[in-house]
Symmetry: C2
Subunit: 272 residues, 2 copies
């Protein structure tokens, strides 16, 4: 089964474009979890159990686990293992390095962590991406245009009139012939998202930046989805994970995920 | 003590521009090490013990540890702990993510791993770099121009006639006013290295790509060093680590490091 088939399968089974970003921050864990063993994993397990019929993917960001050291590594691996078989896991690590090193990252992401896909920084070019394309059942999501203010520093610079992020999107389409590629595009600007979807009509687009970062659901659903209203992975982290800081955090996360799923579905169905 | 003071101190004490890249690959470990506990750490420990009076820095690349899973994490932390106090450690992880996530990577690199510096991918712009600049005794080395063929895909594109890697070098000079920045520039093209050194006369430049990747020592020493023949960190990994695959690997690594140090010193002293 290809990554796209797995993603489509989960999105259809759960009728959802929502991806929950498992960015667990020890400082924000509910108090009652903090005292036991492996609180980060127990938190994630409860979030997954409460949302697994509502999402199309999960996306742990490696930084949050790396910042916890060896315990973080273990929490990450246990978390990925806990995700139900049919739901893809995207490891958000924005890796990018020369060929023999990129091959090690592919082994880390796909082998040790057990992710179905990984985010890759395209700045070092094709041979830094190629090792992630070698597995037909995985996917490399190239960082194209991010939702932060710094996206203006390089991503929006123009090369012969064409913004760099668009060049990245064009490269992803070309490289997708070598192995499965996707794109990461921030949720903050409708016209940019529309432009990238136009360049890459058949690639999955991972969209961070809704929720805490302020991106708008209507934009995301209308401009990000493909012609069938699919292939969009809308990531929310903080607004779901920390919907409540109390013992009811998992139920609160479920309610917030349900709300996002319903809103996205309304807009994507209107929009198609 | 700032990172630059620490780097200069080690470089002067050991009269060396050589950085040994601790990119340990389980498949290439000498056989006699493979059977005991934590072979990656024992390998690194022997390499460090054999070269610590010959180098200006050590640079473990995170990919090699991540590919070993939890054991790799432990080997990395133990390795960094084993580096003598006065020698800086650059964690090569080419991280880059939005602000709150970058802050987690800074905590990982500087806190959990205990590195003095970290390599950062600049594609996401200033706020993705800023958290790494918050510590005056650390340093963020921005990936500017890499030594792989893929560097042509984005890094060499021209914005109003100026190649993107030069824009990154200019940004590093500007951002260095906010906190310590360095640059990563591949060893493969003399003129590029000269150009970047011209743009950033006072920044440390980390130069991978000599040894197994074929960069030339004379170019590196003459074009990379600052006006005093310093602030250049010339990384070699495979040609030192695997100079011998036998029980004499550490002595062979020492001999190769000595040779590189002598060559670089001859060229930089000629060149100044």
């Amino acid at each position: 089964m290809t990554f796209l088939e797995k993603l489509r399968g989960a999105a259809r089974a759960n009728d959802s474009l929502v991806c929950v970003g498992l960015d667990v921050d020890p400082a924000r864990l509910p108090r009652h979890l903090a005292d036991g063993p492996d609180p980060a994993f127990r938190f994630n397990r409860a979030i997954i159990d409460a949302t697994k019929d509502l999402v199309c993917a999960y996306k742990p960001n490696f930084a949050f686990y790396g910042a916890m050291g060896g315990r973080g590594w273990e929490a990450l691996v246990r978390t990925v293992e806990h995700v139900p078989e049919g739901i893809p896991v995207i490891l958000d690590a924005k890796v990018g390095d020369i060929g023999n090193t990129a091959e090690r990252y592919a082994r880390m992401a796909y082998g040790e962590v057990g992710a179905d896909a990984v985010t890759v920084n395209p700045y070092m070019g094709f041979d830094a991406v190629e090792p992630f394309l070698a597995c037909p059942d995985r996917c490399a999501f190239l960082v194209c245009l991010s939702s932060n203010p710094g996206s203006a520093d390089l991503q929006r610079l123009r090369v012969d009139g064409v913004p760099l992020y668009r060049i990245v999107a064009e490269k992803a389409v070309a490289w997708n012939r070598r192995g499965p590629c996707g794109l990461v595009v921030g949720a903050t600007h409708a016209s940019d998202l529309k432009e990238v979807r136009g360049v890459a009509p058949g690639l999955p687009i991972l969209i961070p930046g809704v929720g805490a970062q302020g991106g708008d659901l209507q934009t995301v659903a209308r401009c990000g989805a493909d012609a069938d209203g699919e292939l969009t992975v809308v990531n929310v982290s903080r607004s779901v994970l920390y919907a409540s800081g109390g013992e009811d955090f998992a139920q609160a996360a479920r309610r917030e995920t349900e709300r996002l799923r319903a809103d996205l579905n309304r807009y994507r169905k209107d929009g198609v």
